[in-house]
Amino acid sequence: MRTIAMIAVLLGTSPLAAQDFSEGSEARSWNLYAEQPARFEARVVDMLCAVTGDCPEDCGGGQRQIGLLRSVDDVLVYPNKNAQPVFSGAAVDLLPFCGADVEVDGLMLDDPDIGARNIYLVQRIRRLDGDEWINAQSWTENWAAQNPDASGEGPWFRRDPRVAAEIEAHGYLGLGLDVDAAFIADWF
């Protein structure tokens, strides 16, 4: 049995898939249905590279999603979210660590009923060869630097030029401005 279990672990089909990585985690709860605190060591990888072998040197230079290849079991964890509650992903925060071995802390989502396996919200990162934890909350600062003409009041998603262009062209519902107008008249 022990041999079979070891093989299963090595093949990534084991109970490790549901392993508890909460030890030592200081992750803040988001009160999500399937969240579990998870702190683990991993290598930072380009997702497209890890899955298909299409591997530029710089993990895509900010264009691509970034993943975490967990050290203990070689499971590819997919960080969908950074620590900011503003509709922001995790790639910006992880890109500076491309190819590095790190430790991360955050929330793992495991809800197989809707297909969520190894989905991660990363809250902080540190290099294994360093002591300093870095909070995963650089997305808005990066957005502001890339959109200097979109400064002003309100959150980024109200000021983003690309989002604004889509809404201006197709409405908030995406069904055209006439449908929007009728809906808004009834909604408010």
Binding site: T3, Q63, F87, S88, A91, A116
Partner: protein, 153 residues
């Protein structure tokens, strides 16, 4: 018993020697479904799965796509396919192509990869773009409720 041990040992040796982080084999697939915001769908942060797709969630889907949250294709089979590339555009972290397709029903031709419980889709071609066909706002209004700013008097 000896043979069983030998067999298990051979499998174990193969497992140890195999590059487990290596890429998995893909298979050609053509699938129809909606381009969704995976975080809201998986996390439930904005409500149940039916409330975070279609027209009700379109504005939030734009925010999340522009914000670099991965998009997926919610197939007609009910499975979520994490989209890593759309045609020539590999900008899966906030790119223009996926933003333009937010909430749209598309038919995608490409390669399917499966790893560690997730489906990954590398789209070679968007064969059909039907626009937004799920009129979920009829049932859910908009999610989140603040997606549409209140009109000024």
């Amino acid at each position: 018993m000896h043979l069983k041990r030998m067999g298990a040992g051979a499998v174990l040796a193969a497992a140890v020697c195999a590059p487990l982080s290596a890429q998995v084999a893909g298979e050609r697939i053509q699938i129809t479904g909606e381009i969704i915001d995976t975080w809201c769908y998986f996390s439930g942060v904005m409500g149940g799965p039916e409330a975070v797709v279609g027209s009700a969630h379109h504005t939030c889907a734009l925010w999340c796509s522009a914000g670099g949250i991965p998009v997926g294709l919610l197939g007609d089979d009910g499975e979520v396919y994490m989209v890593l590339k759309l045609g020539d555009d590999d900008a899966s972290a906030g790119g223009d192509t996926q933003l333009r397709l937010a909430s749209h029903q598309i038919t995608a031709d490409g390669m399917l990869y499966q790893r560690d419980g997730l489906n990954y889709l590398v789209v070679s071609e968007v064969v059909a773009d039907d626009g937004i066909v799920n009129l979920s706002h009829d049932d859910f209004g908009v999610t989140p409720g603040f997606a549409i700013p209140e009109p000024k008097e």
